[in-house]
């Protein structure tokens, strides 16, 4: 007989980063009861790591900006695989969501006339990112957290969900454990929102923390929901690479937004050498004009360092591969060079990028106001995820909603920097609103005790084995393998090998052994996370094999060009009746006439 605590809510939100918190706030303000599950302590989720800013066309710095430009930038960046309806909603609603944060106490940096200051970022035509130095994510999560705690939302900290509970097709709750004592918890809910973030932990070099094991992706998939765009995994161009212990830690795009340039070992500014056609008419081809853009000259075009992340990351990889990399296998990111342009550069850099200054000083013994940083690409963000309805954020299963990184559609083949934080706000809010509506319109479903018993048994198996692999060893093997074969440059041969290895790793993961007891036992937590990591990895590999072209973040050296035919569909992944992963092409719906016109006008 199972032993667990039971909780009942109208809406259960799984994940307490920006999207989860925003969803919880919205749902509770609709007058329904809300439970919120955090994998860590409240306020520690990955949103806290976001540095650069929130993209919203408020036009505070450049009055030419508006939702249409933001919408077009998002689609161009996503190589037109985006869900255009989501891109439209996002561009229109982001400014309101940013102002809402201010009404809840957020203090963004200001313009001369006292408005919210906006900064330049890759792929955004005008300065668009509302920010607080280089700690925007902290400001955002703390603001949401400090607003949410007065809303009557019940928070379950350090709690992990192992399975979603179902009544027929409908999702009616979740089952998991709390970390402290290892006790099980059952949650009944009329609607469930997944806001669990990304999958970066499946890769060796990653900016993601231990939490980002694809939980939402896997929970939804196992419950029968569809995943889309799983081949599109963003490698952020600038992660720290030296010393080894900091490898992968994020260096904000804000460094380039403030004038930082990329150099190879010969001191050459290599980004000038390859500007894609789609961006030729908005990118400067000389140093002088690029600097004028940074200084706010409206007639200047932006420097090539502010091209989209997929492109910049690939250019860096090319430099390294062709022998022009830095001593530790990266390239240089230099902000100190602006001392040639402004007299108080040291003070300016420390004011605009205090976190980066502190981090490099403390962890790498480098003063970024004086010398260049060594950087290289790091696994950063999952564009793909749970397929949702654009307006309601409901997945393909009734009662199951998704928002934030674990949801998909907005970003297409590549996400623009800053569009993640605005995504969390816009679609977190919508998920909360529509989940509350669903909860009001539907009675609670039935909970299947058998499903709970089976899950409990499964979860405790690692303790029952006499010996076996360490869960950490399996995790490391997975990370090495995915990094090597399904990373930033892909080909068929390596990915087939990866597929085979995933099969072996699944076997190993089913036989891991955990010592000790259930009280705060990271070995056990890792053992249970492995399944999610493997599902996400398999989905990524399967979709990446299927897409035989290079587009956005997905680069195939055996198909290095874009194929117009491949631009007509998204790839959808779903579990079939016998438990196997299947994939199919889903045509992208014809874009609405008025939106098509906007895109044409902005070309």
């Amino acid at each position: 007989m199972s032993s667990y605590d039971t909780y009942k809510y109208d809406v259960l939100v799984i994940g307490a980063g920006g999207a989860g918190l925003r969803a919880a706030i919205e749902a509770s303000s609709q007058g329904v009861t809300v439970g919120l599950i955090c994998k860590s302590l409240l306020g520690k989720a990955h949103t806290v790591m976001a540095e650069g800013g929130i993209a919203a066309a408020m036009a505070n710095v450049d009055d030419r900006d508006n939702w249409k430009v933001h919408f077009t930038d998002t689609l161009r960046g996503g190589q037109y695989l985006n869900n255009w309806q989501m891109a439209e909603i996002h561009a229109k609603e982001a400014p309101v969501c940013v102002r809402e944060l201010e009404a809840w106490g957020a203090l963004f940096d200001r313009t001369e006339d006292g408005k919210i200051l906006q900064r330049n970022f890759g792929g955004h035509k005008y300065p668009r990112l509302a920010h607080v130095g280089d700690r925007t994510g902290l400001e955002m999560i703390r603001t949401l957290q400090d607003h949410c705690i007065y809303q009557g939302v019940e928070v379950h900290m350090e709690c992990t969900i192992i399975t979603l509970l179902k009544d027929g097709d409908r999702v009616v709750g979740a089952f998991g454990y709390e970390r402290e004592r290892g006790r099980f918890k059952t949650f009944h809910a009329k609607a469930v929102i997944l806001a669990t973030g990304g999958v970066g932990r499946s890769f060796k070099i990653s900016s993601n923390s231990w939490e980002y094991t694809g939980d939402g992706h896997a929970l939804a998939y196992e419950a029968g929901a569809e995943l889309i765009d799983m081949e599109f995994l963003q490698f952020h161009p600038t992660g720290m690479i030296w010393p080894p212990s900091v490898r992968g830690i994020l260096v904000t795009e804000g460094v380039r937004g403030e004038g930082g340039i990329l150099l190879n070992k010969n001191g050459e500014r290599f980004m000038f050498n390859s500007i894609p056609d789609a961006y030729k008419n908005q990118t400067s081809d000389n140093e002088e004009e690029g600097w004028r853009y940074i200084q706010g000259d409206k007639d200047a075009k932006r420097p090539p360092e502010l091209l989209t992340r997929d492109h910049v990351a690939r250019c860096i990889v090319r430099e390294i591969k062709e022998g022009r990399g830095s001593p530790h296998g990266g390239v240089y990111l230099d902000i100190s060079w602006i001392k040639k342009k402004i007299s108080n550069s040291e003070e300016h850099i420390r004011k605009k990028l205090p976190g980066m200054f502190h981090m490099f000083k403390k962890l790498a013994d480098i003063d970024i106001t004086k010398v260049p940083m060594e950087i290289g690409p790091t696994t950063h963000y999952m564009m793909g995820g749970i397929r949702v309805h654009a307006e309601t954020q409901m997945s393909t299963l009734p009662g199951l909603f998704a928002a934030g990184e674990c949801g998909a559609g907005l970003h297409g083949a590549n996400r623009l920097g800053g569009n993640s934080l605005s995504d969390l706000l816009v679609f977190g809010k919508r998920a909360g609103e529509y989940a509350a509506k669903f909860a009001k319109e539907n009675k609670a479903g039935a909970i299947d005790e058998k499903q709970i018993n089976e899950t409990e048994k499964y979860a405790l198996q690692p303790f029952e084995r006499e010996n076996g692999d360490s869960p950490f060893d399996v995790q490391f093997a997975l990370q090495d393998m995915m990094q090597q074969w399904v990373g930033i440059v892909r080909n068929e041969e390596e990915m087939l090998r990866a597929k085979e290895h995933l099969r072996l790793l699944r076997k190993r993961s089913a036989n891991v052994f955990v010592n000790g007891n259930r009280e705060f036992n990271p070995g056990w937590h890792t053992a249970l996370d492995l399944r999610n990591m493997l599902i996400a990895s398999e989905a990524i590999t399967m979709a990446a094999l299927e897409r035989k072209e290079s587009r956005g973040a997905h680069f195939r050296e055996d198909y290095p060009d874009k194929d117009p035919n491949c631009g007509k569909y998204n790839l959808v992944i779903k579990q079939n009746a016998s438990g196997e992963m299947t994939i199919r092409q889903e045509p992208i719906p014809e874009i609405r006439e008025d939106l098509k016109k906007i895109i044409e006008e902005m070309k």
Binding site: S40, R99, G133, W242, V246, A364
Partner: protein, 251 residues
């Protein structure tokens, strides 16, 4: 590569022991790297909290050689490795297991602080105008990552266990960020004096010294708050005035 020995506190409140682990130290390594390596290699069940590993989230607070620190920002080359590196959980809160303590009290305390209450918007679109100079000092407080190292080192909590009567430096910083917020119109002075117990702080600046975000907690947050309370309750002229008024009312 040099080898270091780590003496790590293991067990829960009932059985506290120290266990030794030896590890090769590589270039640039931080204490958290060592702890995670030990966890993966020798002690899968070693309990520790961490998230960002870059000093942004405030999860990996512990005491290294007796000093409260974020383990992710504590470089091995700052520590003498000719003797064992002592790693213990923070002390001001109940131990759960190994390096993990029950910090839930902090989250409860925050809920009791009056929430942000803005003045009416300045513009029709619901937005406000603020000068950067006016928000600089509040932005300093908002850098807080809630690592609770200031709470850990504060003797009112650590030695005297006045958790019921004193909210601690973290929450004085929080209240300061609200009280000095240019838009906020709430008054929290009475709570500060009566329920938050700011009077227990005798400004030894221990909190300021351990803050990984380099927030000048004592000088910029606590002392100005104390001054505001003094203004409200202890201004001799106002006191006379209040006395006079209450007499008049009573007569």
């Amino acid at each position: 590569m040099p080898t270091a020995t780590f003496k790590i506190q293991r067990g829960d409140a009932s059985i506290g022991t120290f266990e030794d682990y030896s590890l090769e130290i590589s270039e640039g390594m931080v204490v958290l790297d060592a702890i995670l390596l030990i966890q993966a290699k020798y002690a899968n069940d070693l309990a520790v909290r961490w998230n960002c590993k870059a000093g942004h989230c405030g999860s990996c607070s512990a005491e290294v050689n007796g000093i409260p620190k974020l383990m992710c920002m504590c470089r091995m080359n700052e520590l003498p490795i000719d003797k064992p590196v002592l790693v213990q959980p923070i002390k001001a809160f109940p131990l759960i297991k190994d390096l993990v303590t029950d910090v839930s009290w902090n989250f409860e305390v925050k809920k009791k602080i009056k929430k942000f209450k803005p003045r009416k918007p300045d513009a029709a679109d619901g937005s406000w105008r603020m000068a950067q100079e006016d928000i600089d000092r509040v932005q300093e407080f908002r850098k807080c990552i809630e690592c609770f190292l200031c709470q850990d080192v504060c003797h009112v909590l650590r030695e005297h266990h006045l958790h019921e009567r004193f909210t601690g430096p973290r929450y004085f910083v929080h209240v300061a960020s609200l009280e000095m917020h240019p838009l906020d119109v709430e008054d929290r002075r009475e709570d500060l004096k009566k329920t938050d117990g700011i009077g227990f702080c005798n400004i030894t600046k221990c909190c300021t010294n351990v803050c990984p975000q380099e927030i000048t907690i004592t000088d910029n947050a606590i002392i100005p708050l104390k001054e505001r309370i003094a203004d409200k309750y202890y201004d001799p002229l106002k006191k006379l005035f209040r006395l006079f008024r209450s007499r008049k009312r009573n007569s």
